[in-house]
Subunit: 362 residues, 2 copies
Amino acid sequence: MLQVNVELKERRYPILIGAGLLAKPESYAPLKKGDKVMIVSNPTIAPHYLATVEHTLTQLGCQVDSVLIPDGEKYKTLDSLNLIFTALLEKNHNRDSTLIALGGGVIGDVAGYAAASYQRGIRFIQIPTTLLAQVDSSVGGKTAVNHPLGKNMIGAFYQPVSVIIDTLTLATLPKREVSAGLAEVIKYGAIFDLPFFEWLEQHIDHLIALDQADLCYCIQRCCQLKADVVARDETEKGDRALLNFGHTFGHAIEAHLGYGNWLHGEAVAVGMLEAAALSEQFGDLNAQDVARLETLLAKANLPTISPDGMLPEAYLPYMWRDKKVLSGQLRLILLKKLGAAYVSAQASEAQVIAAISRFTQA
Amino acid sequence: MLQVNVELKERRYPILIGAGLLAKPESYAPLKKGDKVMIVSNPTIAPHYLATVEHTLTQLGCQVDSVLIPDGEKYKTLDSLNLIFTALLEKNHNRDSTLIALGGGVIGDVAGYAAASYQRGIRFIQIPTTLLAQVDSSVGGKTAVNHPLGKNMIGAFYQPVSVIIDTLTLATLPKREVSAGLAEVIKYGAIFDLPFFEWLEQHIDHLIALDQADLCYCIQRCCQLKADVVARDETEKGDRALLNFGHTFGHAIEAHLGYGNWLHGEAVAVGMLEAAALSEQFGDLNAQDVARLETLLAKANLPTISPDGMLPEAYLPYMWRDKKVLSGQLRLILLKKLGAAYVSAQASEAQVIAAISRFTQA
Ligand SMILES: NC(=O)c1ccc[n+]([C@@H]2O[C@H](COP(=O)([O-])OP(=O)(O)OC[C@H]3O[C@@H](n4cnc5c(N)ncnc54)[C@H](O)[C@@H]3O)[C@@H](O)[C@H]2O)c1
Ligand SMILES: NC(=O)c1ccc[n+]([C@@H]2O[C@H](COP(=O)([O-])OP(=O)(O)OC[C@H]3O[C@@H](n4cnc5c(N)ncnc54)[C@H](O)[C@@H]3O)[C@@H](O)[C@H]2O)c1
Ligand SMILES: [Zn+2]
Ligand SMILES: [Zn+2]
């Protein structure tokens, strides 16, 4: 079993990574005999893993309840949150109870916000079951639900007491979701860690084949990189912005197509290429760096070209909207070199269009 | 203008107290030219004070929006919360916006939780307009909404950047609400501060007559006492429990009658007498202490006897439910003497019944 510690001002908590952790009672520390637990999952994930978690916790002597919310981003709402509160109250859970999120990023975000809010905060454990959740959403304490007028607009910063990553859960995850998770994995290499990027170039096929040892190493590295940036910037005022590499472009793709048509990771893959092309224009990357990124993404079965019929100009309104949320400038995360990112407010619209055009169908 | 500072681990914030503060731009620091502000109020309070707040903030150069939620405890819900989120999103408020609660404890609790949750936390200012909110709910950072299965079950600990208490707002508050607030005022004297209790004995008539100087002093003293206990115990794990003096008995009265029939402060008044009688049984108070408390409450136009037809035995199921939330013992806040409270787990049911019986109609 591998472990990464997230070091926060107030306390530290562990991320445990291994194949088969869900069936081992010791994975669930600090839970112990007599503790009350509510597991939040959904009807897609529960049939595969809920019984194992329930069984292992019951063995440990915990009192275990569970509640399922409907599957899908469109159920990441205050209504689903309320389903969780109702279940907690109906089963008399109090301030000493623990909430467990068993699922992907949607379950993690909703359950995390429920844990932050129930009786003003109860103990929370993450069991992420998608690669994206394992390397990204379960680390860092961001929780949220959507509002009809905006994604992730309502939530809290709330840290779990532990994160349990069982790499065997990826066996049932649709391949397309695995690839989408790999986009975020590749992002970590590109923005923070050239040696890891190189390791990915060598091991990408193993990861797609779900080689357990390589998955564990890969997830550990990503969690470590994210934990480091979160420790430096818990409430997202500085450094953490670098994690948005490829995301401003990617969000434009997602919004243009309508959320859910391309997976988030797919849009981010193309977005990273566009940001890399801009970095090449600025003289920071060379053509070979961009080509390496493109090759790696393609090997991960990710798209490397803008959606059919989406013109470069179509990105701009979305990108400007993204920026307005932050300041008066079009702020983009760009690369100084492979493995090092920075925030830039230099790019003109013409430069952005030129970069996007390189990955647009004729 | 009087000021109390709340000293937290992370930062300090001021509570400003004075007659006429709402009309003075300097009350609203740290707000400044260009800031976006959303005021949350209700249709009862808005006609009296919203225009003044809007006008003063506009003078200061702020961009001011407002949203009203329906008046009443029964609207302290996730739905009202969502009304606030919708208003914030429709008016393009972002992470740099400030939410202002203009109203009593209900508005403060809902708006505070909205501020804690919108984009994972935006700046929050409290303008409490009931005496209860001025001396109690606006200080300490507890925010919440109700769930059909339980009061205040969903919320956050979230501190404002400032609290602005304009004592002139009490002019329009129903007298019965003023008295209910005085129950909490008297509570502070009883649990923490004998000299303040004695000051109240001398000035209670002035307070009821809304003498502005006496109100300011009184509110300052209460805020200071609450700020001290909050600074010691921000997330309510220890000392803050002492603020529940009279509340376990009081909650039984409120629940028995159905919430809203007696005001919270009215139930707490009788609850404090019952707790005091128990302290007399334990030999900590004498008969004269209990009589002083009774006289002071009566002068504040508060009830000093159990509701018509509520038998002492009727308290117990509610009191046991209250206790279960905390531990395996019937924990009560009792007095060692006037001005000093402690947590007791000693009282038997028979002793509790005997204490309640002293304030029950024959
Ligand atoms: N909190 C953060 O820091 C953060 C970061 C990134 C993304 N997110 C959020 O994460 C969400 C996306 O997460 P996601 O990509 O995990 O999507 P998801 O949670 O919707 O999961 C994708 C699909 O896979 C299914 N699934 C999950 N695990 C499975 C398994 N082991 N076997 C079979 N099916 C499985 C799910 O039921 C779902 O249908 C978004 O809402 C996004 O906003 C949050
Ligand atoms: N957060 C905390 O620490 C804390 C502490 C105690 C109580 N509370 C909460 O506070 C709430 C009770 O607060 P409350 O007693 O202020 O009740 P409230 O907010 O319902 O106000 C009482 C009534 O007075 C009206 N009103 C308010 N100010 C007025 C004014 N200046 N002029 C005329 N009318 C006015 C209101 O519209 C309402 O009808 C409860 O929900 C309780 O749970 C919270
Ligand atoms: Zn992402
Ligand atoms: Zn009270």
